[in-house]
Symmetry: C2
Subunit: 367 residues, 2 copies
DNA sequence: GTGAAAGCGCTAACAC
DNA sequence: GTGTTAGCGCTTTCAC
């Protein structure tokens, strides 16, 4: 490092090492109060304070009261790094595949709900849709001794996740791993959701639905876009479509590519009369592309998304979408995480059922 | 804690304390490789390894090569908590006021740019628009010995920020503090931006602009919404408006309240013919409310936002907005942060000039 | 029920 | 240039 900022700190430390009898002005290094000072103030041992901090067994009520009073009086907050050396960090790392997806805020709210009232604090790492970045973030979280990791929409393989599960408790969201034993998961039934899309479109009178899905080199069958595709396919088959009539076009996570893909579909032979965007943020771009072509929604073309995120309700979007209860998923992910940390060794996989949130973008029957 | 997950760990530790001469299978606690093992493998001292890790002065090329080889061979990654006890954590905490603001992703990209190629990793805390939560997160970051904090759109007072600045390097974004000496800031000129809005609307032929701003109990003059209001006011005055004709309505961060406020403005006496939403995510809700009322944009009413975030470009929004170069702000915030950590003691306040990104939502002259 | 003391894995002062 | 070593602030035995 090209410089230090501990000129003052070094001084502090030197003063302390002289072991002056009068207690230093306000704590040790960095001016922070330490457990030792709390113990002195309360007239008890350091061990006693530590026990109170962790709600551990073996403290009398009187002692606990004294300790809590001193903690409050000195405004003491334990030094997480020091705790990490021996015990826990009370930190949950949350890996977000990206920050642009308007669905994630709901999940985050749910995680906050589930962690409220505990000592655990969530910190977020942002993967920007890159698997190598996701791995780097997971490493950084493990290096910082985070007690557990919640991974939202990540694309690491099950094997990679399991390797990490040996270092910290893990819950995945937006990644199906019903057979995994070393980590938990919380999801909606994406396959069912994909089928719901088809059922809804057909019921509204659309005749030629198509899907625009996520194009990425490293997608596995466990990822949500793939599950939704599978559900879309089986829904189409159940509706009597021949496999050759089931169209799924993949577009990169980029508005220009989504726009080009929509044009390709609509200007090609036998154009669809309804488009399913695999997630809302794709469907909103589909809406943009469709409107740019001068087509009317829902008369000329229906559009449906997935996630039922807040922008769907805006009048200019008025987008039908599959609701997957993000907040409940987040809440359950936090619960599973806390249970794991508390000692559960068996895996649990939470699944919630999706439902259609009907809006104007697929209202062919009423138009 | 109602249970432990260190049955195995405890075992490991006991084995080690027996000081067996044969090196343990693969590292100590948690199976992690330690600096001691790297030193043994490379045949050098732990101090030497530590120096290599920190690019510190006093290592020969030969030794460095040996150390790096062992690090790679053993897949060693330093234990951040242990580093934190004596030195740095190489962690930058980023406080996001909320996750819903579509402008923040650009800033985050900029921060990532600025941190790329360094050892520093950003971790994000999410404030959900609550000042008490923001304070809790800042505490959690300081408790975890993060080397620096970047705070985006936070609403703590300068005094509170300065108190924190004694514990960690600080850069604020979306908060103006030109006179602050203990921390840095990176912003666009929000006051100028507010004036640009008026200049643009008037030039387009709108006669009665109004502004919808953020309502919160704890806003200070330093916050961006207030700066934009000030710029709006001075722009209106410069355009010849009487103070009684300058209308600024405050709405809570909630689509229902924004909608109600828009109705109040448009259905009241002397309705505006253009509305400025203090940030894009407000302007998009204004657009929704206006469309719900059956008004045409831009003919019946113009709408303009601030931030020029990606949704502005969608055809269904086509929203004129003030561009404040979020990515550049983020990049500079990271730069300022690294400089502070490297030892800079004087404050720096980076300001970029905003510009109008013209789209259809204010195209009165062409309609 | 309580406290003394041994570390956790690093960093940095200091001796060589 | 290199290695030895004393802690950083906690947690956790283990005596008492």
């Amino acid at each position: 490092m090209p410089g230090k900022r501990d000129g003052k700190t070094g001084l502090c430390r030197r003063q302390e090492s002289v072991q002056t009898m009068d207690r230093p002005a306000s704590g040790g290094r960095n001016g922070r109060v330490t457990i030792r000072e709390v113990a002195e103030d309360a007239g008890v041992s350091v061990a006693a304070v530590s026990k109170v901090l962790r709600d551990a067994y073996g403290v009398s009520d009187v002692m606990e009261a004294k300790v809590r009073a001193s903690i409050a009086k000195l405004d003491y907050r334990p030094h997480t790094a020091a705790r990490a050396m021996r015990g826990q960090t009370y930190t949950i790392g949350v890996l977000l595949a990206d920050v642009k997806n308007p669905f994630f805020p709901q999940v985050i709210d749910g995680i906050d709900d589930g962690l409220a009232g505990t000592q655990y604090v969530p910190f977020f790492g942002i993967g920007h849709g890159s698997t190598s970045m996701e791995k780097a973030i997971v490493h950084a979280m493990v290096d910082r001794q985070m007690d557990g990791l919640i991974m939202i929409g990540q694309r690491m393989t099950d094997a990679e996740v399991e390797a990490t599960a040996r270092q910290a408790a893990i819950t995945v969201i937006g990644h199906h791993a019903p057979q995994a034993t070393l980590f938990d998961s919380a999801n909606n039934d994406d396959e069912r959701g994909g089928t719901l899309v088809v059922e809804h479109l057909i019921a509204q009178g659309y005749k030629r639905p198509a899907m625009i899905t996520l194009r990425r080199a490293d997608l596995g069958q466990a990822d949500v876009s793939q599950r939704r595709e599978a559900g879309f396919v089986s829904g189409m088959r159940a509706a009597g479509f021949d496999d050759s009539a089931i169209r799924i076009a993949a577009a990169a996570d980029d508005i220009d590519d989504v726009t080009a893909t929509v044009r390709m579909l609509l200007e090609g032979p036998n154009p669809p009369d309804a488009i399913f965007g695999w997630a809302d943020y794709y469907a909103l771009e589909v809406l943009s592309a469709v409107r740019a072509l001068g087509l009317r929604v829902p008369e000329d073309i229906g559009v449906i998304g997935y996630d039922n995120s807040p922008p769907c309700a805006y009048t200019q979007n008025d987008l039908t979408s599959i609701d997957q209860s993000g907040r409940e998923i987040g809440r359950n992910a936090a619960r599973l995480m806390l249970e794991r940390i508390a000692g559960r060794k068996t895996a649990e996989h939470f699944v919630v059922q999706p439902r259609v949130a009907v809006r104007n973008s697929t209202a062919l029957r009423n138009s």
